[in-house]
């Protein structure tokens, strides 16, 4: 009864839904336009925060990839940083004159520049997604989380220690930047350190492409399979979904986006070293995905912007007003406190509070919300007084057994 009503309601409301979709598209277009023109404002208004926004976009690309694994397929990956490392080092190995592979002439000439290396990094990350995902397939939720965490520790540790290949703790430097693109007239698009606008737009473009791809994946046949196994693995398997293939594709596609992110990031800062990739990176990404809303692309963007802008911009900016307030009120704590010291607290609080208060995240995915609010019925809970306990059924069952 309720179901038919709901369907009727949906049909009745389809015009409203279309209006919602149009409004959503409008907001997105506005946000995108703002993001595109931002570098001009940054310069004109003297904000000087372009260098903070670039890593924020890189982290949003990463969060999109993690969203596939954790949000869509429900596989809690605590070692996602491993793929970020692999993507970044893949680019470094191919394009840096300091890498052992290049020095020994193992890298063909055409691969030694940014774009081909990025494609290879994408592929290599996806392959490692499969390689590290395959052993975890039989494991259930919490064990899978810990095994992926183990991989997330082993991979950077390997890059720290295998000095002959990876340059050890100091990593690999002079990674190639994208070649300058000549434009008609005297103009060109150069990826330089001094003017970072080209970098900003490039990474924004990749981020937008990522968001588009991940959104499309959600509604695809594959995306629906992921959601099915997230909700009930056994039911999904009996509906003919190939669990192994579907899960491996989640790991591979999730990891492939970190190949983009890693190689872009490596090219942008031109040096990779293992200490950039600690466990906290995996947790920050997880906090971004969970704060915004597991499985909802727009939620993840929102969560990512909140967490990252706090981490890279707001924490520094808040120090000024806080110290000013401290000076005014004479509270020593406010005068001396450094907000950038609070980052772990903020990430931790985001995770705990979201789990306790709003498990679907700030912008919950509708289906996900239904899953999370559905609790295991407590067999010990006393039946509500207005619901008479139906003992007849069980009596009949026992009677049937006796007979």
């Amino acid at each position: 009864m309720a179901a038919t009503l709901a369907i009727g309601h949906e049909e009745f409301d389809s015009r409203g839904e279309r209006r919602d979709a149009r409004r959503k598209a409008l907001w997105l277009a506005l946000a995108l336009a703002a993001a595109i023109v931002y570098p001009f404002l940054d310069k004109a208004l003297g904000i000087d925060r372009l260098a903070s926004w670039i890593p924020i976009f890189v982290f949003i690309i990463l969060a999109m990839g993690l969203n596939i694994v954790v949000g869509y397929a429900g596989l809690l990956d605590l070692g996602y940083v491993a793929f970020f490392v692999i993507g970044a080092y893949a680019n470094a190995f191919l394009t840096s004159p300091n890498s052992g592979l290049v020095q020994n002439g193992l890298v063909p000439e055409f691969l030694q520049s940014f774009w081909p290396a990025m494609a290879v990094a994408w592929l290599v990350s996806a392959i490692f997604g499969v390689l590290l995902g395959a052993p975890t397939l039989r494991l259930r939720g919490d064990y899978l989380a810990i095994v992926t965490l183990g991989f997330g520790e082993i991979v950077p540790n390997f890059f720290t220690n295998a000095e002959r290949v990876t340059g050890g703790p100091s990593g690999i430097s002079t990674i190639a930047r994208p070649p300058t693109i000549p434009l008609p007239g005297d103009n060109e698009i150069a990826f330089a350190t001094t003017d970072q606008r080209s970098w900003y737009w490039l990474i924004l473009a990749v981020a937008v492409l990522t968001v588009f791809l991940v959104t499309r994946l959600y509604d695809s046949r594959l995306g629906r399979s992921w959601q099915a196994i997230r909700e009930d693995e056994i039911a999904a398997a009996s509906m003919g979904i190939n669990l192994v293939k579907t899960k491996l594709l989640a790991f591979a596609l999730g990891a492939s986006f970190s190949g983009f992110a890693g190689s872009l990031y490596a090219g942008y800062i031109t040096v990779v070293y293992p200490d950039q990739f600690q466990f906290s990176v995996s947790v920050i990404l997880l906090a971004m995905v969970i704060l915004g809303g597991l499985g909802n692309v727009y939620g993840v963007i929102l969560g990512g912007l909140l967490i990252q802008s706090f981490d890279r911009i707001l924490a520094e900016e808040l120090n000024g007003p806080l110290h000013w307030l401290g000076d005014r009120t004479g509270i020593a704590f406010l005068q001396e406190h450094d907000v950038t010291q609070d980052r772990l607290l903020i990430f931790g609080l985001a995770l705990v509070l979201i789990m306790l208060l709003r498990p679907g995240g700030l912008l919950p995915n509708a289906r996900r919300r239904a899953e999370l609010t559905e609790t295991v019925p407590d067999p010990l809970a006393a039946p509500a007084p207005d619901q008479p306990v139906d003992t007849r059924g069980s009596d009949m069952a026992t009677a049937g057994e006796r007979a």
Binding site: L76, L139, E153, N161, F279, G348, M355, L356
Partner: protein, 324 residues
């Protein structure tokens, strides 16, 4: 190259001492997992809190290495008891505030909350003692710091060192372990814990207050972590807000190795991981060039991954089928 027995024995001693320490932490994971099947990710940070609190207690007491022997022993004992109480309180509070409300939520929700709690506690550690490693207030009298029991007590002519510190670790751990076994197997509350671990519903039907029992498991686990905190503080002579992460994961590996939920298994697993740790840190580099302490993380996490994939019930655990 000949097998170096002196070094082997030396690393064996260090491994057993480290292993006892890990066993104490591993028991906390196992106690909690055995009952509510939650990986208490914040347990390593509870251990760190214990170490920090012990450092504060010693500093407040004003007793230093120059004080009389009786005063030092008294402060060690008081700091041990207080840091056990403190960590027990922290662990209990975490459960009460963060995990209890998620008891019936999907399985991953409390794990994610636990990760969050662990980050919050790390940040508290930063507020408390700063983000750099610190040395604990001096407590061990100078002449005992390198005191070698083998030469001083037994008059052996040997280069192997069995320091008073190693003896201290084992001497504190063993009575605590015996106390725990007595508690779990010989008291009513312990029986209630085992019953709850076996079947929560049935235990509740038998009149056991399940929430109280779970709380006691958190108290016990926290107390063990607090003891480990004090021991680690003086065994390593250094502490840092991040110390809980490595110790915690190594101890979790130990718990998994011994079969999570299995008390004896956690102790044996702890000793195994302690030995692996000490041999990977020191002994291996005699034989494999380029090997050193820096590979230990990979080795132990490798053990973790392999055990979880191939023997998820641990080395001694019976194979269990997954509950659907």
């Amino acid at each position: 190259m000949d097998f170096n027995w002196t070094l082997f024995t030396q690393y064996l001693i260090i491994g057993v001492a480290t292993g006892s320490l890990i066993a104490l932490i591993a028991l906390g994971y196992t106690l909690v997992y055995g009952i509510i099947e939650l990986i208490n990710f914040a347990h390593g940070e509870v251990f760190m809190m214990g170490a920090f609190f012990a450092a504060t207690v010693v500093a407040v007491s004003g007793v230093t290495g120059e004080s009389s022997g009786a005063a030092v022993l008294a402060v060690v004992f008081v700091a041990l008891v207080l840091s056990m109480c403190f960590s027990a309180g922290v662990n209990f509070t975490i459960d009460r505030v963060a995990y209890r409300r998620l008891r019936n939520a999907p399985r991953l929700a409390p794990l994610i909350a636990a990760i969050g709690v662990s980050f919050i506690l790390q940040n508290i550690g930063i507020y408390w003692k700063g983000s750099n490693p610190f040395t604990p207030p001096s407590l061990i009298p100078a002449e005992y710091r390198a005191y070698n029991i083998l030469t001083e007590w037994f008059g052996l002519e040997t280069r192997i060192r069995f320091r008073l510190l190693d003896a201290f670790v084992i001497g504190v751990t063993v009575p605590i372990l015996i106390g725990l076994v007595w508690f779990v197997y010989r008291t009513r509350v312990g029986t209630a814990m085992r019953a709850t671990a076996q079947d929560r519903e049935a235990a509740a039907l038998m009149g056991i207050d399940v929430n109280r029992t779970i709380g006691i498991a958190f108290l016990l686990g926290g107390a063990l972590a607090g003891a480990a905190g004090l021991i680690a503080l003086y065994y390593n002579n250094s502490a840092r807000f991040q110390m809980g992460f490595r110790y915690g994961l190594f101890a979790f590996t130990a718990a998994v190795l011994g079969g999570i939920g299995n008390l004896a298994g956690a102790v044996v697993g702890g000793l195994c991981i302690g030995l692996v740790w000490s041999f990977s840190d020191g002994f291996m580099k005699q034989y494999i060039s380029g090997w050193g302490a820096q590979w230990t993380n990979s080795v132990i996490f490798g053990v973790l991954v392999l055990v979880m994939i191939f023997r998820p019930s641990g080395l001694f655990g019976a194979t269990t089928t997954e509950k659907v």
